[in-house]
């Protein structure tokens, strides 16, 4: 998938574990693990808001667009 989730990077910066984040945002560890491994199909705004609030960051710090190697033309 072209959207990469850099949750582990932010967790390392904030010196927080996934379990601690799970308790603070009230999302199960299993679901956060799915998100961290970029296996999620979609993310709700409410989830993104909760994570950004706890990690004190912007959505762009967690989500990154990495174009597929087959994309040769840039988007406008």
């Amino acid at each position: 998938m072209a959207i990469v989730v850099n949750l582990d990077v932010m967790l390392a910066k904030r010196k927080m574990t996934l379990s601690q984040l799970s308790e603070q945002v009230d999302i199960t560890l299993a679901n956060l693990s799915i998100l961290k491994n970029s296996k999620a199909k979609a993310v709700r705004f409410s989830t993104l808001e909760a994570i950004c609030r706890v990690l004190e960051c912007q959505p762009g710090d967690i989500l990154e667009y990495v174009p597929d190697s087959s994309d040769t033309k840039g988007g406008s």
Binding site: I27, L35, A40, K41, A42, V43, R44
Partner: protein
Amino acid sequence: MTMKRTATQRLADGLVVLSCLLLLADMLLILFLPALAYFRSGEPTFMTMAQLQAIFVYDFDDGLGNLMRVILYEVWQKPETAVLALFSLACAVGAAWIFLQGLHISANVADGESFSPKNAVCFRRAAAGCFLLALAAAGRTLWKIWQLGSPEPLLSCAALLTPLFLAGGLLCLLLSALLRRAAEIKAENDLTI
């Protein structure tokens, strides 16, 4: 902690019990259908139903032997009784297959797996059972038309069963496709964090 069962699950529990009972009754009926077709034909050459009942009262083993002879031999001697027996057996087998799929679907819903690919497969199998029943009804109607040489059987109940079960089969196929799509949407939703 046990989760409280929803109204849908309780309904499915009832359907599981009902489906089991229907399936058992159908399986028992299958054994005696050829005999019923034979006695219903109106002109039994070997013995009548009243005679068989009398023999059962007198000697159970003798009665059972005569019943087996009717089921395994006598009913297949005349085309009319043979066709009726085959039609009845096809209906019973088709119905049993449909009841079995209904049992599987009810059990899955009772377990909380309403939108699963398994239920889609069960509905497709139930559709096959409906089409078998429609085919059997159509076959019997055509045979009666040929036998009587008139279109009168088109007004019989067997003729009505053909479009009825055809529609039932198509409905089951539609439900199968809907459930398959619902399962895809659920899987996608389960991966929405």
